[in-house]
């Protein structure tokens, strides 16, 4: 199933921060890959396809084994600003939601208060 998805959408499975040029092609044995591919999927895959598949698997392995890249300060700052903007919007909407909830059932609440509430006359 992994191979099929790679066949139809090879560009979407790239690991983030890892380019295909970093993969060592010498580690891949094309014939073995082709045989394996034929056996497992029953497909008549070309050598290019097998190469592409090999690139993909290697890039995934490399991404798992390589240490995570540190984001740049600009990127961090942009993320922080985005988060702050998001929270500010949340606070603003919280007030609106509170107002809405307070007035949502105002008529029913008043009717219930008149029904069960006690008036006091001094």
């Amino acid at each position: 199933m992994q191979i099929q998805s790679n066949l139809f959408a090879p560009s979407t499975t790239k690991a983030p921060g890892v380019s295909s040029s970093n993969v060592k092609r010498s580690q891949v044995e094309p014939s073995h890959q082709v045989e394996q591919s034929h056996k497992s999927q029953g497909l008549e895959a070309s050598q290019q396809v097998t190469h592409g598949q090999a690139d993909k698997e290697n890039s995934q392995q490399h991404a798992l084994s390589a240490p995570p890249q540190n984001p740049s300060p600009e990127e961090l700052e942009s993320r922080l600003v985005a988060k702050l903007e998001y929270e500010q919007q949340t606070q603003g909407t919280e007030g609106a939601v509170a107002h809405y909830l307070a007035n949502q059932h105002a008529a029913q609440r008043e009717a219930i208060q008149q029904m069960v509430g006690i008036d006091t006359y001094a």
């Binding site: 008149q114 069960v116 509430g117 006690i118 008036d119 006091t120 006359y121 001094a122």
Partner: protein, 238 residues
């Protein structure tokens, strides 16, 4: 056999005769004014006005379709009526108005010599019924018990003349307290019946206070009118 028409006129003149003379009325009014200002002695009479005030709130609640939960009376003369439903404007207005009206009605009863004992008994019974129906806390029940004694104890007296004078003084004290009490509301911002009526009707609270003062003054004046007309009738008869 007496003529029914003559009998009716005779009864009416007798009831008029039960009204005090002008001088006596002024003495009773002066006595009521003094008692309402005497410390400690005036306390039960403050309760009397407070009781009729809350009773009026309660009756207005019932008349406008509401339900009375209970009433509370406090030793300092304050009171509360707890109710559900009804027409708030009528209920709020009825407190001071009702106290003045009750005072006038009691004064009228006090000018009816034949019914003076029955009047005392009825008022005492009304207090007991109120305690049973609307009294919930011990303090309120104690105050109502004192008021019941105040109405029922004079029945031990043998002479109706003292009973009449006593009841008239009580009635005048109720009216005088009803005249003085609303003025307290002028110093209370956002509290009391006047503030409640102001929020309900958008008519300023001081106008309501003035209305209550005017009504209480009119009630006392009506008492004077009754005494005065009785005195004139007795002069014409002579």
């Amino acid at each position: 056999m007496p003529d029914p028409l003559t009998q009716g006129i005779t009864d009416k003149s007798e009831s008029k005769a039960g009204a005090p003379g002008r001088g006596r009325f002024l003495i009773e009014l002066l006595l009521a004014m003094v008692i309402t200002r005497l410390p400690f002695i005036n306390v039960p009479f403050k309760w009397l006005e407070s009781y009729f005030h809350e009773l009026s709130h309660g009756l207005a609640t019932l008349l406008t379709g509401g339900i009375v939960s209970h009433i509370q009376l406090f030793p300092n003369g304050a009171g509360l009526c707890f109710s559900q439903g009804g027409w708030p404007v009528v209920i709020g207005f009825s407190g001071y108005f009702g106290a003045a009206l009750w005072g006038y009605l009691i004064f009228i009863l006090a000018t009816w010599p034949r019914g003076i004992r029955m009047s005392f008994a009825m008022l005492g019974s009304a207090v007991i019924v109120t305690a049973l129906l609307w009294g919930r806390d011990l303090l309120t029940i104690s105050i109502l018990a004192c008021l019941a004694v105040l109405f029922l104890l004079p029945l031990k007296l043998s002479r109706n003349r003292f009973l009449g004078s006593g009841l008239r003084v009580m009635a005048l004290m109720i009216m005088l307290n009803a005249l003085a009490s609303p003025t307290v509301l002028l110093g209370l911002n956002g509290k009391g019946d006047a503030a409640m009526l102001a929020t309900q009707t958008w008519i300023p609270g001081w106008i309501w206070v003035m209305a209550w003062l005017a009504i209480s003054a009119v009630m006392i004046f009506l008492c004077w009118r009754r005494v005065d007309s009785a005195a004139k009738n007795s002069v014409i008869k002579r």
